[in-house]
Amino acid sequence: MEKHNHQIGIMTYIIVWLSLLAFTSITVTIAGISLGKYTLFIALLIAAIKSGLVINIFMHIKFDEPIFKAFLALSGATLVVIFVLTFFDIIYR
């Protein structure tokens, strides 16, 4: 019963935490530099990388049943569809 209950090492968690802190300091530093329209893109890219770390390691999705990945992909896809359709409406109105 406990067989496929994958345990993640303590060190892995600490490394992930340190990377999250590093990405935070990068995003704060970059926000201080004027990069024009790329600023938002870079901030969102870093936020996406950070959430990838949290979801995969802290939330165990990487080691969990595939069904949870399917759920996650479905909700992500729903959000993308809603955002894309709304912006089509806003931009071409």
């Binding site: 935070t24 926000a31 600023t39 901030a43 949290v54 069904i67």
Partner: protein, 209 residues
Amino acid sequence: MSNHENAAMISHHTHSDKLGAKMGMWLFLFTEVLLFGGMFLAYAVYRYKYSNDFHLAAMELNTTIGTINTIILLTSSLTMALSIAFIQRSEKLFSILFLSSTILLALIFLINKYFEWSAKIEHGIFPRSQELLDRPNGQILFFGLYYVMTGLHALHVIIGIIILSFMLIFLIRNKITSENYIKLENSGLYWHLVDLIWIFLFPLFYLIQ
């Protein structure tokens, strides 16, 4: 009668459905993602329409306090994960220690939030204040979204503290053990979601220059 009760107890023990419990939690988390997703959508549309006002208004937010709160929440996510890791390894004391740290960090987050909001309110910036109503529409929208989104997030932190406090009691009373810790795991998933939402709130509100 007593035979029947015994049978019920045994089946109760062997039938703890971890997969089902976790699946239920994930489904709940997706409704949360869609709840916040709608708000992020409103934010995106208005930022697109009033990007100058959003930039001006965002300059007034305290980046330092936002950064400190980011570090606090990320660390609380680590202590949450460690609490689960230690109960898996039957180290009850460490599990209790890290779960308590998570609750403590959540409280510090809220105290910071309190100071941040009181400073804003003292400057006369709160929904429907005269100071805010005299400003352009985009700034009114920015601060409206700021209060609603960080407020809803803070409400999630408060609910998280309540849930984690119950888990702490369960842990102390051996209701959560190395054999059966799905409650702690699901609470952890909820807590990481609170962290995830903040990961996006932080750059969108505090890091616009």
